[in-house]
Subunit: 147 residues, 2 copies
Amino acid sequence: MRLTSFSDYAFRLLMMADAAGDRLITIEEAAKRYRISRAHLMKVANQLTRTGFLEAVRGRSGGLQLARPASEIRIGDVIRSTEPDFGLVECFLTGNTCVITGYCRLPRILNEALDAFISTMNRYTLADISLTKVNVLLPSEPQLTAP
Amino acid sequence: MRLTSFSDYAFRLLMMADAAGDRLITIEEAAKRYRISRAHLMKVANQLTRTGFLEAVRGRSGGLQLARPASEIRIGDVIRSTEPDFGLVECFLTGNTCVITGYCRLPRILNEALDAFISTMNRYTLADISLTKVNVLLPSEPQLTAP
């Protein structure tokens, strides 16, 4: 059982925006710091902007920032919006051909377990996973230049 | 977020063995009734036998049966044994290169959510999902032969 890398990258981007505080971050910067695909991050950023987790500021000195305080961004809500589906078994998806559909009582249990999974994550917000050592991601002091 | 079809098929096989009661079931029969791959079901059956959920009876009239009463087979335990991994995010897997590993507090929350997912399923056993309309899977009366 896995989450998509899309969800994984969404958290990395949100955590970076959180760590940056008032400063805007850019896809460029995130791709470089995390050493992951710029194109993939762009898609993630677009989705997070569309779903109201990030805010895009346009213009030459534009970039991304959290659309609301980290304490108002629940972890489970992020995953619910970034995962393409929660198709745990065939009958949760379109094109299902399982012959016991309608008689089987497994889906009810899986849905209950899924609710427990999301609810547990929704007890936490982005503020609970703020990076305590921010300079892992962000330069903490001006770069020295060679004499 | 999906489970593998391996887990899905494992439940179908266990539910069929449960429905059959004392009668042994065969891979052949399960593949035909469920209209799924015999080869795939064979692997699933081998794994369920190895992990103590099914028992294989050898010989000409051999087949498969539950290795213990349905009420002693917990749903979460089955999934734990049939899923190849629970690699929710990159750092849960080998070959992880995420640069914030060690500073990031997301894994703890994901693990807690995963525990809630499995624990919820472990409140139920195979007996809770016994097929009430058994003839969906098993012939309920002898086949008539043409005169």
